[in-house]
Symmetry: C2
Subunit: 314 residues, 2 copies
């Protein structure tokens, strides 16, 4: 369930007028901007962007970029986009960073549904005039490249059928491949990039039943290079993306300071989807409410905005 609280009836024109007032003159009225956009769903935000363009002959996104700053600006910029466009942007930003971060690439490829991933690839074409896979491929080499390009390009079957014999034989194949280390990465790549999610979860369960250890644990025991880390992330995202996001949030608010980028990413991308359940997982794991943790780690209008998206006014 979503945490976003959006009224079913809103007037895009009135919202656009109110936003026009909030960005007028010196210094924007951040609270007004948050109280409007932090309570509108994707379709509503798109209507507001259109109404704003018509009223003021100006792109609302560009205007907000120039009026806001810091973490709030980045969070609002991500929030206001349509989901597919936002994920395409996040992927591109991850690929352009100096310190390459493949986590976002794996996350988008493995958490989204096959149809959603395809929508992101289309949005990537429109926005960057290139394919997502060619940018991934140009930034990587070897087995890591094979794995990431395969994940990004996947269009998994979405049905709920499970082939138990296949789960057994591929759990065995994964076991052999992990033991042989880098010799047999190709089998790991083939299985992780092509099978349906339902089938893969059955395979991972089979693995755990047969070997008494989670495949992610075994993989990280055997290697800590980029390939092993990416394979591990992919398995976590496919296995249970809510648990995966709980961990991202926990690490983002860990002892070595706050990772605002990860915090913003998870809250903005999940607020309209299943942040409610992720909050529950977080509470079970940490005995702290996610809102309290976020409130402690952030401040000012950025904090206000994140809490608003989480359905909690501060």
């Amino acid at each position: 369930m979503a945490t976003l609280v959006a009224p079913p009836n809103h007037s895009p024109v009135e919202d656009a007028e109110a936003l026009g007032k909030a960005v007028k003159g010196w210094g924007a009225d951040e609270k007004a901007i948050i109280s409007i956009l932090g309570h509108r769903n994707g379709a509503q935000r798109t209507q507001i962007r259109e109404a704003y363009q018509n009223l003021f002959q100006e792109d609302l996104i560009k205007r907000l970029e120039s009026e806001l700053s810091g973490d709030l600006e980045r969070a609002m910029y991500r929030w206001i986009l349509e989901p597919a466009e936002r994920e395409a942007l996040l992927a591109n930003l991850a690929l352009k960073r100096d310190e390459k971060c493949y986590q976002v690439i794996v996350e988008i490829s493995c958490v989204l549904s096959p149809q959603e991933l395809f929508a992101v690839r289309s949005a990537y074409h429109n926005r960057f005039k290139r394919s997502m896979e060619e940018d991934v491929a140009a930034n990587t080499t070897g087995h890591l490249r094979q794995l990431l390009v395969g994940l990004v390009s996947s269009f998994r079957y979405g049905g709920s059928e499970i082939n138990a014999r296949l789960a057994q034989s591929e759990a065995d194949a994964l076991h052999e491949a992990i033991k042989k280390k880098n010799e047999s990465n190709e089998e790991i790549i083939r299985i992780l990039t092509t099978r349906s999610k339902t089938q893969l979860v059955a395979t991972f369960n089979r693995y755990k039943d047969d070997h008494g250890i989670a495949i992610t644990k075994k993989l990280s025991d055997e290697g800590s290079d980029e390939f092993h880390m990416a394979a591990n992330l992919a398995i976590s995202c496919i296995n249970d993306h809510k648990k995966y996001y709980e961990k991202v949030l926990r690490n983002a608010m860990g002892s070595i300071g706050t990772d605002e980028e990860a915090l913003t990413r998870v809250i903005v991308t999940r607020a309209e989807k299943d942040l409610k359940e992720i909050k529950d997982v977080y509470y079970k794991r940490n005995s702290v409410h996610l809102e309290h943790a976020v409130a402690k780690e952030t401040s000012g209008d950025y904090k206000k905005f994140l809490l608003t998206l989480m359905g909690k006014e501060d």
Copy 2:
């Protein structure tokens, strides 16, 4: 341009009734079936299937399968399907053959537009309850697998931009990779599976200008294993698919007997698209009209059907 001659106004119900008459009793009226279905486009054929189902509570495809036989049956079965469903079927048949034939996989992946290829992948899900890439991956190994899975999974950027510097650097990279033989196949795979078609054609032209030899010629000089053959096919399909189809037709009607499967495939899949231009290329290359060659190599109702799709009544 298409060669198919289809009247804009037709009555699906009248067509379905006429087909019902043609398959009634002992022995079907092949000529009547050909004269109807051989003159209807994809949307019209789908309407006829629906009308037939409503009228007779029976699947027209299944009925035709039981009434027709041999090459005509196979050609009609392929023709009557929607393009994406047909290509999914052709891919699946190619993967199930004992003597593996990757030509069809490469052809579908590289001739179709990115959006069309995605429609085929969706149709494959619906029909076979698996992804096309998982069947390709399960049937292949090594570099051939990487290449084929990459081609099948590609969603190339479809714009017309050319980056001349990139064309130069990747023409150089391809040259180095081909020289080093199997050591550097991964660069060939990366370039062929991710770049836009427009960009790739620029790269192949750059290669020819720099080295005085077509990259396909160089590739087949350096290796004749399955990987090299598949890479070569991919380049031919991307470079000029009409020339590619001319060659498929020429080989299908070569000196060692007729390859009805290839002949049917090209005529059925291109009759509604660009068989007119392929006929022109064929005539230029062979000084024989394609219709004459087909008429010489085939016979009976099968011949009549192919000629009808080519816009030529015999």
